[in-house]
Amino acid sequence: MASNQASVKSTKLSVKNFKPKVRLPDAGKEEWWNQLREAVRAIHNRCPISYNREDLHKAVGHMCTHSLSPRLYNELKIQCEEYTKASLHQLIDDFMDEMAYLIKLNSLWKDHCNQMIMIRGIYLTLDRTYVMQNPLVLSLWDMGLELFRKFIVSEQTVEKKTIDGLLSLISRERNGETINKSLIKSLLRMLSELQMYQYHFENKFLQVTESLYATEGQNFSQSLEIPDYLSFVDKRIKEESERCLHYLEHSTKKPLLTSVEKQLIEYRKEMIINKGKTELLDTNRLDKLKLMYSLLARVNGGLDELCKRFSLYIQERGTSMVMDTERDKTMVTELLDFKSKLDSVIELSFDHNPKFINTEKDSFETFINRRTNKPAELIAKYIDMKLRAGNKEATDEELDKILDKIMVMFRFIQGKDVFEAFYKKDLAKRLLVGRSASVDAEMSMLLKLKQECGAGFTSKLEGMFKDIEHSKELMPHYKQYLNNQKIGHNLDMTVNVLMTSNWPTYHPMDVILPEYMISYQKHFQQFYLSKHSGRKLQWISTLGHCVVAANFPLGKKDIVVSLLQTLVLLQFNKEDEISFLDLKQRTGIDDADMRRTLQSLACGKVRVLHKKPKGKEVEDNDVFAYVSDFKHKQFHIKINQVQMKETLEENINTTERVFQDRQYQIDAAIVRIMKTRKTLSHALLVTAVYEQLKFPIKPSDLKKRIESLIERDYMERDEDDAYQYHYVA
């Protein structure tokens, strides 16, 4: 600005003195020296210059062309040096407080700059000729800076007072005081112009910063709760960034922030994560977790450590969900909730980081398989619950979303055969006894399983649906067939014909049916075998059910009952009171099923039989009578829910069959491997078997299977080396 104004003035002046006569008498020379000296003195003393600037320029120009430049330069330098010394001397001795001192220094600096600009304006030609031609000579501006710097550096008290003053201002700001930012900015610019910023200021500033945050990190990470500590760190980092924006040099930003991050985060990261993560994750404080993530992302290894701890957290919480048998009833729901909670933590707080996504997956897989079989079983049952008719909590679309979520859990399970067995058992009941919530949902679930595990996994499940479909198609033909037969009774009989190998195994029970039912069965058998030769049929009495009309003294009811319940109720057509043992004998129902059936008729929600004596368990000496005053507000009543329930035997059998099947699969795998490799060491054989099989096997079990195959002559031990096997063709 100042130099600009000067040049504008000189242009004006040159217009006044248009076409001056160029006369340079030697006599004028000494006068010029004096005039220039006077002008500089006037500038230093902030007085008006009494000479025409145009003349001063001309004088400088003339001297420069007459090789007087070195002298001109030196005289100016000496004059400036004397002035600077005298002027800056005010900084010494003078008893000023810190603030007054800094303000004084700043005003001296501002004056110096202004004065140098004005001087340079006059001596422009010197700068443009002499200085330009001599690389070792400082420009007038730099010469001025050099004089200023020399003074400050040579006077230790001045330098110390300056740096200390600046640091103390910053420290006051860090303590929350409002400070004069433009003062500090101007002084730091000064240091930077004087080449003193880095060496004299920045190093010391960073030292002070480091020791401040080392102390704060040490103290606050312990005294503050982690969420508060995180906010504190965040605030500090923001403040320091602003400091860089407001007055620090750009070069300071990186080392400054690194130092803060090191002291407050990196050195405290274990502490932050250990103390913080469990509480934050448990209470789902997404904002604080996000802050933790973003702070740790700033330092070396911060996210690695967080990821490691995240994994441990998942495994710890997950393991307790899975291992605690008391929580089996809610295990799947808890797992689903846990998963979706963690998903949203990753999405909202952990920046959707793929590393965390994978860690979550791996951790789930680890803990869920810590308990063998049970999670698979419970996942299957959870799906059954959702797919059963009467589950009105969801539309098809919502149901599909739930199924997708449960598939994620399913993916983690290593023993998928356990899942399949339980899924199949429940599907059978949905298809045969109850109804499905939605055929679409069933098909969609089947497709999901197929996509996940391949067609081999679902072919039997698909076969089950096919069987039901085929049976439906068969029924009209059967009805037609019946019309041509002469049967006294008028019973509406429908049959589901299952291909045995598609379905779970059911134990056969020869129940005693009334004559006319037997004749219906025989007719069906004849009809079926005439259509499908080469097959044999077996009736599964535990899966059948009936709709019966019951004439109670107080009214007629339609009741849906299991076949076993039907057989029991039919006994009461002839007698009013029958003992447990008689009922068993007359119906041929086995003991456990009989107890369950009677329980469902006499101890359930809807009771059509009295049990004498009363009680929840059916005892051998119990006697049963029909409820003569039976009342119910509905005409249609369903009491065959007992068929949908899983019995303990069923549960044990299902698991047992999976284990048997695994043994066959292990045997088959060993034989297959030995057949191709002929001779193999124990270790290599075991590795190959593990590669082929998809379920967990204990090494001891595998040993047993090998022993068994040796016994059965599928393979033999090497005569010299007990750990070497040969295939026996």
Binding site: L432, A455, S459, E462, G463, K466, D467, H470, L491, D492, M493, T494, V495, N496, V497, L498, M499, T500, S501, N502, W503, Y506, M517, Y520, Q521, F524, Y528, H532, S533, G534, R535, K536, L537, Q538, W539, I540, L543, G544, H545, C546, V547, V548, A549, A550, N551, F552, P553, D558, L563, T566, L569, L570, F572, N573, D576, Y626, S628
Partner: protein, 86 residues
């Protein structure tokens, strides 16, 4: 009380009435289908010969096609092959 059955939804399961577990041609169990098929049962039935050997229908048809038209024999017993009609 008088109870009358109005509707009966019965359940029966069927198996092939076979002496062997596996098809003599493709070696697959009769409970599964032949290698060409996906689902066992109605889609891949089993047929019997007069000699009382049985095979997946697809397996025996393929076998017969590969045979001389005049001289079609059972792959198990080499007797001349005739489908058994029950």
């Amino acid at each position: 009380m008088k109870v009358t059955i109005q509707k009966w939804i019965g359940v029966a399961s069927w198996k092939w009435q076979v002496n062997d577990d596996n098809c003599g041609i493709c070696r697959m169990p009769f409970d599964s289908c032949c290698p060409e098929c996906k689902l066992p049962g109605d889609d891949c039935t089993i047929v019997w010969g007069e000699c009382s050997h049985c095979f997946h229908v697809h397996c025996i048809l393929k076998w017969l096609q590969s045979q001389n038209y005049q001289d079609q024999t059972c792959p198990m017993c080499r007797q001349s092959w005739k489908f058994k009609t029950h």
